[in-house]
């Protein structure tokens, strides 16, 4: 439902008068149904740098070029080898051998979508890090695949925090990636939880309408078409008034609490039926839990109020998000749904689900909700105007519509060996041994790569059975991996034996293999997360909620394609 509604807003603006969408809209139809015109516009204005032109790197780019990324630069100073021509679909096979890897790959990638700008950069990234720092910072996202630790250190330090860095590592059937950002705000989270209908705190017009219906005397057909929110509001109000007479006045805002009270309440709804099979009352009975599910402000949203009121340390950003949150906090503090209720609520949104009802009654209810939400939106806008930011109506509407599902994620800065996360890794080693061992093995391999150790363990091709020398090499490589892995952990840590034997064995088997299927799998996963970052829709991987003080996530996604699983650390 959410998807089709956002599409609706997305497509009305670009529709030709006849209704038939233009060719571009038709081309992107299947993705516009997910991220709408706003997401598409964000994607089309994004600039991405990818280093270097490996099979994995071009697979990631493929999934960004197809949906219509704005610009990409592919940086690689190397020439195509026979091995590259064999595992990279975007090279021209045998005929690319010897030519620039970046140029050949860009050619292959651009063929797929002429709406995308793509540039091959044949410079060495180490040179660029010295000579063209400013240029590197013009990108929104930089993606690095199997880039060694030294280069990553420099790159990470330069880009943090304005440009997001995506670090991708893979060897054979194993892979991992992480996205490095300070904070990521999501308005359109596409949450599956819907906003409250406020049955327990009905706004005055709804309450008045519910109480005005002559339930016993109205037309029997009309009676069978009263929408269930109206029935629930009526039943709850009557229940409250009865309780008020026998108990304390405070019960005027109470709801059935005990199992017995809830059961009796449902029977009350049943007793309101005038015929045995009125489906709207059956629906009301089934939805009765809405009477005792209090309309509250989700804890995550509450935490955001605190986060943005206290965080004067945040750099001033072009984003209107903090202002919107501040206005929302003001709204919540100062606007109870009606004088009867003590606490404030999030602004009402117009998201009425379908229900058993006549068209007239449904549209009437929809109008009541709309009028109230318009009213509350005006109040919100008054608060927002004090924040002295310019936010257009589209943004405000999207913000209010999603105010119950706002998300602010935190990330971390990339560090090769992070002393601060040693204890956390130790912890993860006991709670997630497979995932953590995989991460450690890949990180260790990356460090060996930086030390130029890995390249001496080239896998030879040919003989049926591995030679003695090869076996020795493999065992030596496993030992080196173990030694490197220990540098990520507190001294004296023991690696989980079985898991470590498996992951180090996997790396030793294929230390420099960029397998086409692993590349394609990663290509999909990484592109998907990058699209979420760029569009600021849906929820990318993270190290947790920004407002939460817990630091129990590394924000790394790990992949094992032997047993075929993914995991998050």
């Amino acid at each position: 439902m959410n998807d089709s509604q956002s599409l609706e807003t997305a497509t009305t603006s670009i529709q030709a008068p006849s209704g038939v969408p233009d060719p571009k809209t038709r081309r992107y139809d299947r993705q516009l149904r997910l991220w709408a015109a706003s997401g598409q516009a964000a994607l089309e204005s994004a600039r991405i740098l990818v280093i270097p032109a490996t099979a994995t790197a071009t697979s990631i780019l493929k999934n960004l070029v197809l949906p219509g990324l704005g610009h990409f630069t592919l940086m690689d100073d190397g020439a195509v080898t026979g091995a590259d021509a064999g595992n990279n679909f975007f090279l021209d096979g045998f005929f690319s051998i010897g030519k620039s890897r970046a140029e050949e790959a860009v050619k292959g990638l651009l063929e797929m979508n002429d709406g995308v700008e793509g540039v091959a950069d044949v410079r060495d990234i180490q040179e660029v890090l010295k000579s063209d720092k400013g240029w590197l910072k013009t990108f929104d996202v930089v993606i690095a695949h199997n880039v060694d630790s030294n280069v990553l250190n420099d790159l990470a330090a330069l880009l943090w925090p304005e440009t997001h860095l995506v670090v991708v590592n893979s060897a054979g059937f194993l892979a991992e990636f992480s996205i490095h950002y300070r904070e990521h705000q999501v308005i359109e989270s596409h949450s599956e939880t819907s906003a409250s209908l406020r049955i327990d705190q009905a706004f005055p017009a709804l309450l008045e309408y519910a109480m005005s219906l002559p339930l016993d005397t109205m037309d029997i057909t009309d009676h069978a078409h009263i929408p269930y929110p109206v029935i629930l509001v009526r039943a709850l109000e009557e229940w409250r008034r009865e309780r008020e007479q026998v108990t304390s006045p405070s019960s005027s805002t109470g709801s059935p609490r005990t199992t017995v009270e809830k059961k009796v309440f449902k029977e009350r709804i049943r007793a309101m039926m005038r015929k045995f099979d009125e489906e709207n009352f059956e629906e009301a009975e089934a939805q009765a839990f809405k009477c005792w599910t209090p309309t509250i402000i989700p804890i995550e949203v509450k935490e955001l109020f605190a986060l943005y009121s206290s965080s004067t340390s945040l750099p001033p950003s072009a984003s209107t998000f903090p202002a919107l949150i501040s206005a929302l906090a003001n709204f919540v503090q100062n606007n109870p749904a009606s004088p009867r209720y003590p606490s404030g609520l999030l602004p009402l949104t117009l998201s009425l689900p379908d229900m058993k009802s006549s068209t007239e009654e449904y549209v009437k209810l929809q109008k009541m909700y709309r009028a109230q939400s318009e009213k509350e939106k005006q109040v919100f806008k008054d608060y927002l105007s004090r924040e002295q930011v310019d936010a257009d109506d589209v943004t405000i509407d999207a913000f209010l519509k999603n105010s119950h599902a706002l998300k602010v994620l935190k990330g971390n800065e990339w560090k090769d060996v992070d002393p601060g996360s040693k204890e956390l890794l130790l912890d993860k080693l006991s709670t997630h041994p497979k995932e953590t061992a995989t991460h450690l093995a890949l990180a260790a391999a990356r460090r060996l790569g930086a030390k130029d150790v890995l390249s001496s363990f080239k896998s030879s091709s040919g003989p049926n059975d591995a030679t003695m020398a090869e076996n020795l090499d493999k065992n030596k490589l496993k030992d080196l991996l173990t030694a490197e892995a220990m540098t990520f952990l507190p001294p004296g840590t023991e690696l989980p034996e079985t898991e470590w034997r498996i992951v180090s064995g996997e790396i030793a088997r294929a230390p420099s293999a960029d397998l086409p299927t692993t590349a394609a799998f990663l290509g999909g996963l990484v592109a998907q997360e990058v699209i979420k970052m760029i569009t600021k829709q849906y929820i990318p991987i993270s190290a947790g909620n920004a407002a939460s003080s817990a630091n129990d996530q590394l924000g790394i996604c790990v992949v094992d394609l032997v047993e075929t699983w993914t995991g998050i650390l």
């Binding site: 081309r27 026979g82 096979g93 054979g172 493999k474 397998l515 998907q528």
Partner: protein, 445 residues
């Protein structure tokens, strides 16, 4: 039909893949033949069938080609639409309207030799056969009399389909293909599917693991609205659109079939739906929503397809080479919130209509009449059926009820079994006492 042979393996071509094929890893089966044997099987012998050349199919074909499979067959009955271009990366604007199978296969073959101009004459890396739309349709239409030999020639089948019906069909076909006398008859089926940010990949070993039919109840049903709501109490824009397509179209156009691929038909529905929405004060009917509802459009993006197709091909590679353990047996991905996935063993369903029923071999006299066979079934201790109904794949033998069908099949009771079925023929038995059905494998003495 395009049929190109050739082989052109340049030096270092399989540098990456060979790291896996030259030596076993920690999770490799003992039967793995590292080195030349496995490479020879993968590159010169393995024959793989890809069903579907759409969102998943394009990715599958590219991955298989890079992995080293050289005998790849592809079936697809569809033609290319502009809305495919956001993810089906073997197709270009100029290909709109052409056969997906043909364009995809040609692309895969030529991509390895683009700069030579004449792809065929230089000899290609891949042998591909293309079965174009008509043929698939023919196979598809007549399930009962299709030829098993076609499927027997493959080692593996990968499915990237969006249709439940086609999947049920290929699944049943491969389960039925399994012949206890012939080990080669067991064809692993790898099935992938995506929807927006979600997807799944699974490995089906027919008759050994759970099959597609076993998990049919896991499927999400497409939204359907009560017809009375559509007719009289529309509340959502979708209700107005269904009114136009379900009720108004047949009323106005009679037997003329709606073509949801024809923009004119969508425009007609949109206009009708919009005016109804206007009449009922309902907002939100758009051309795109109209198209989405009547075509039951499922959002589809390149990235999800890439993940699922990669997983399918990775399993195909591991199964074909025994180079590493493979998925057992279901991988589910949900990418809406972070990267969430779940790998589990989907269990075989005992009463699955395709792979769950019992099968019994019976050797009977040619002279035995159907009535006697039924008696035999009810009396046999190991079967113990009450009131069975029997049929063959092509006709009913004896149906217990309703009366009209009983009367129509009653004359068969006195016929000799050899008149009713061929030697080695199959009889399907249903009865209230059976969980689903029993299959009889009948031979004559």
């Amino acid at each position: 039909m395009v049929n190109v042979q050739g082989n052109q393996d340049w030096e270092g071509r399989y540098y990456h893949i060979d790291q896996i094929l030259d030596a076993p890893g920690p999770r490799t089966d003992e039967g793995f033949m590292a080195g030349d044997d496995v490479k020879d099987f993968l590159r010169n012998q393995a024959k793989i069938l890809v069903i579907g050349a759409g969102g998943l199919g394009c990715e599958i074909l590219a991955n298989l080609a890079l992995t080293g499979f050289k005998d790849i067959h592809v079936i697809d009955m569809d033609t290319i639409d502009i809305s495919n271009l956001n993810r089906q990366f073997l197709f270009r604007q100029k290909d709109v309207g052409k056969s997906k199978a043909i364009v995809a296969a040609e692309f895969i073959m030529k991509t390895r030799a683009r700069s030579q101009g004449d792809a065929v004459s230089i000899g290609l890396a891949f042998l591909l056969q293309i079965i174009s739309s008509g043929e698939f349709l023919r196979y598809f239409g007549k399930i009962q009399d299709k030829d098993d030999d076609y499927y027997l020639q493959f080692n593996l089948v990968i499915c990237g389909l969006d249709s439940v019906e086609a999947r049920r069909w290929i699944n049943a076909t491969l389960v039925n293909l399994v012949d206890s006398e012939n080990p080669e008859s067991l064809k692993p089926l790898i099935d992938g599917g995506t929807e927006g940010f979600k997807g799944q990949a699974r490995v089906i070993l027919p008759t050994i693991t759970s099959c597609y039919e076993c998990s049919l109840d896991m499927l999400n049903k497409p939204t359907a609205f009560p017809i009375c709501t559509i007719a009289n109490t529309p509340r959502l824009p979708e209700h107005c659109i269904e009114w136009a397509s379900v009720l108004e179209w047949p009323r106005v156009h009679g037997d003329k079939k709606m073509d949801t691929d024809n923009p004119d038909d969508i425009s007609w529905l949109y206009a009708v739906a919009a005016s109804r929405a206007n009449e009922f004060n309902i907002e939100g009917v758009t051309w795109s929503l109209t198209q989405g509802v009547v075509k039951n459009i499922i959002p589809a993006i390149a990235s999800t397809n890439a993940i699922i197709a990669a997983s399918c091909c990775n399993e195909a590679f591991k199964i074909a080479t025994s180079s590493a353990a493979y998925l057992n047996n279901y991988f589910m991905l949900i990418g809406v919130e972070g990267v969430y996935s779940y790998t589990f063993e989907h269990e075989k369903k005992g009463n699955c209509p395709v792979c769950g029923g019992e099968s019994v071999s019976l050797s009977i006299s040619r002279e035995m009449v159907l009535e006697e066979l039924i008696e035999l079934l009810t009396e046999r201790q190991d079967i113990q059926i009450k009131n069975p109904s029997l049929s063959t794949p092509t006709k009913q033998l004896y149906l217990r009820a309703p009366l009209q069908l009983e009367e129509a099949t009653r004359p068969n009771l006195l016929k000799k079994m050899s008149e009713l079925i061929p030697d080695g023929g199959e009889v399907t038995v249903t009865a209230g006492t059976l969980p689903f059905s029993l299959s009889l494998d009948i031979s004559f003495t």
